[in-house]
Assembly symmetry: none
Homo-oligomer: 235 residues x 2
């Protein structure tokens, strides 16, 4: 347990506090020197933790002022969901794991190009269905290379995000990615999963997320019911 670096512990702590609302939007974090004495570290270490929070978009530093907390759903460039009615504070209320993580070979008709290492490592496959206000809105099919992920298939993902598990247990961070978007007619399977009304189209996404580990990319195919909600992104 002690092989987790100090700066990372502070980062996790502050991150949790921001997300759980200990610090609210617009609040100032304790100053760097205060954090130093409170956690018995030196300023470079504290700054390393804060820089990581800046990278996540969770805080915003201002010289002479302090570290300002930004609102948590400040999506990491990636994607978030905005309800047409209640735009603020929407969270995934429930996540069903339709397919627990299993190791298998990459699909033959996989829509992304793979590196040799990824190809020969095989992949971990999982499917999720996510709900907002007890309505299914999000069906995603995920493939990740089976590279150095001990006990991954035994982990529980019920109330944790996939990214959270990768970050906390395997130190894998999302750096960026690319995505392709289309509006399509749903297949029968998708229509049933998302409880789509007849004729209701679905937002289709293919995304490749790159990480800090070379050759470790996360591939997702996502179907989104955009009848009552919308995909929201800022850049």
């Amino acid at each position: 347990m002690d092989n987790v670096p100090q700066y990372r512990k502070l980062y996790e702590l502050l991150r949790k506090h921001i997300i759980n609302g200990v610090y609210r939007e617009g609040d100032l974090l304790p100053s760097e020197n205060e954090l130093c004495s409170a956690h018995e570290m030196t300023r470079p270490t504290v700054r390393h933790a804060l820089e990581t929070l800046v990278k996540d978009g969770l805080i915003l530093k201002k010289q002479g002022k302090g570290s300002i907390v930004r609102k948590p759903p400040q999506n990491i460039g990636i994607l978030s969901i905005a309800g047409t009615a209640s735009a603020v504070g929407v969270r995934y209320l429930k996540t069903d794991i339709l397919q627990k993580p299993v190791v298998q070979t990459w699909p033959g008709d996989f829509p992304f190009e793979l590196s040799d290492l990824e190809q020969e490592s095989g992949c971990i496959y999982m499917e999720r269905l996510r709900y907002v206000e007890n309505e299914p809105v999000f069906y995603d099919v995920n493939h990740l290379p089976n590279i150095n992920l001990p006990r991954f298939t035994q982990r529980s993902f019920e109330n944790k995000s996939l990214f959270e598990v990768l970050r906390k247990n395997y130190q894998i961070e999302i750096l960026g990615g690319e995505q392709k978007l289309k509006a399509v007619k749903p297949t029968v399977q998708v229509r049933q999963l998302l409880h789509l009304k007849p004729g209701q189209p679905v937002l289709y996404m293919e995304r490749k997320l790159t990480t800090n580990k070379e050759h470790f990319n996360i591939y997702s195919t996502i179907y989104f019911n955009s009848e009552k909600h919308a995909i929201f992104g800022s850049f």
Copy 2:
């Protein structure tokens, strides 16, 4: 000239070298210690520069190995179009101005919130239809506040992008923005404009682009025919 921090100078230099191809994709950058002695800085300073490059996605660091150069990200967030067939080099071959820029009041059912200054300034309104390979794919409705845009309604937009005119003639730069995406059934008007097949859904986007001029935001409502093409973005 000397108030530019050292780490930033090194960052700019390496960035230029990566983009210009001095280092190619997959190459290793000089090691941190080599950079130290070459540029007469200490390792923390060099590391600061490298961290900035990592944040940009231009390099990827690997412990025990070195700093690996990645291919420069093509577009920073906004949006581009990827043909399913010919993915590279797709351009808008033609742009029709359906509605030349006109000054009017903001619509009553405008889907964005406006500041007081924007509200009372009135807006400039224009509609465009854009083609790829002589097929209409892109129908956009644009509103911008009528703030300090002399002779704007007299300008020609035939072969210039709206952004290009704003940048070159009015020094207005896009800083960022937010967007909302949905898959919807097209209205009769949209179906006819985009030559949509019966039952073909359409990708609907609302975007607000922020600029370097305060209170000057560009609001677009976009309908995209995603039958043969997809919206492509990287982040």
